[in-house]
């Protein structure tokens, strides 16, 4: 990790780079916007914009078949789009690393996010993923590092939930 990175989003980028992650699958979330930009402009990574999050699980399998590591960036509602595909990791035993920005979590102001946000960890666990949860900035880097190791050393699906206590809740003009 570069000594200059103090922002946790930049620390995630440096950690992914240090682990030689080459393919970055994403459907944008505001919480991931800085990280997505860093990946888009990196020479070491290819940022792959998706039409739906489930494309990432299949892309990740293809990447691994070809010897490349990948990561998926999405918000919690996207987990709901992936359920059948999440199970592929358990069936084929391949690494699936996911960094998930939470909505419908702590102080959410948009009630349409709450149902899937609350279901997110349960859905991931039901599909066989290991789930880590981060609420404090200083825990982000060590958690992403640990999750990446567990995914790629263990041929395992691992999700890191970046909780709303960490990223903040959108105010929708009602602070």
């Amino acid at each position: 990790m570069s000594a200059a990175a103090t922002d946790w989003r930049e620390q995630i980028f440096e950690t992914l780079k240090a682990h030689d992650i080459r393919q970055v699958y994403y459907v944008p979330d505001a919480g991931h916007s800085r990280l997505i930009e860093l990946c888009q402009t990196s020479n070491a990574m290819r940022a792959i914009v998706l039409t739906t999050e489930e494309e990432a699980m299949a892309g990740t399998l293809g990447a691994w078949l070809g010897g490349e590591k990948s990561v998926t960036l999405m918000q919690s509602s996207g987990v709901g789009n992936c359920i059948n595909m999440l199970g592929l990791s358990k069936t084929l035993r391949y690494p699936m690393l996911m960094l998930i920005t939470m909505r419908g979590d702590f102080g959410e102001m948009n009630p349409w996010q709450n149902a899937m946000g609350q279901a997110t960890p349960k859905v991931l666990e039901a599909a066989g993923c290991i789930v880590f949860s981060v609420e404090r900035a200083e825990e982000v880097q060590p958690t992403v590092h640990a999750a990446t190791n567990m995914a790629f050393e263990g041929n395992q699906a691992v999700a890191v939930l970046l909780r709303q206590k960490l990223i903040g809740a959108k105010s929708f003009g009602k602070d």
Binding site: R46, I48, T51, A56, A63, L65, G66, M85, L92
Partner: protein
């Protein structure tokens, strides 16, 4: 105009020499049996699930192995479930990827129910929407997209699928046939390790 092409003959023509290093991903259902009937080999990744995902497996693989040719052979039902992946592929422009849809206008594996690619007119059990997957692929940004319907076009199809700069997309109109289910190994972890061994020299 009823289809006249036999899917097994088309797949045999596409795969040609089982000894070469073409990387082949097959969508669930009959395509998985088709590539196995053409000759099971470690560089085949026959899917038994993950419906809608075949083209994306091909994309991730094509990006990871830019010097090898990647062929996705899948059904119209699988492709319809993952239509958005055509736009995702177009955005990445992998020059080594060909996506071939064997379009029998049916969900074959589940009892030959009509898919959206079936004609928009006809009996309730036969009708679809006349969806043209090659037009969808072109609309998504895969400029080199076409429909193949005649025996005489199969040699060119095979050549393009294996060598033409990609991404290319082909819909191949095939007959509805009752064929033996030629099954590859079923264990996903085994298939994945076998493939990685063949391509990377390590599981």
């Amino acid at each position: 105009m009823p289809a006249t092409l036999h899917r097994r003959a088309v797949v045999k023509a596409l795969m040609q020499d089982p000894g070469d290093d073409l990387l082949v991903v097959a969508g669930l259902g009959q395509c998985t049996w088709d590539i196995t009937a053409a000759g099971d080999r470690p560089q085949n990744m026959p899917l038994w699930g993950g419906m809608g995902g075949a083209a994306m497996v091909g994309l991730g693989l094509a990006l990871a192995q830019p010097r090898k040719r990647v062929l996705v052979i899948t059904g119209d039902g699988d492709m319809l479930m993952g239509l958005g992946s055509l736009a995702t592929i177009a955005a990445q422009r992998p020059t080594n990827l060909a996506v071939i849809v064997l379009d029998n206008e049916k969900f074959g594996e589940t009892g030959n129910q009509a898919t959206h690619t079936a004609p928009a007119t006809g009996a309730p059990t036969e009708r679809g929407a006349g969806t043209d997957l090659a037009a969808v692929a072109r609309g998504c940004g895969i400029a080199d997209s076409a429909v193949i319907a005649h025996d005489s076009d199969v040699p060119q199809l095979a050549k393009d699928a294996r060598t033409k700069p990609g991404p290319i997309f082909r819909t191949v109109k095939v007959m509805t046939e009752v064929l033996p289910q030629t099954m590859p190994p079923k264990d996903g972890a085994y298939l994945k390790d076998r493939f990685r061994h063949a391509v990377l020299g390590t599981a």
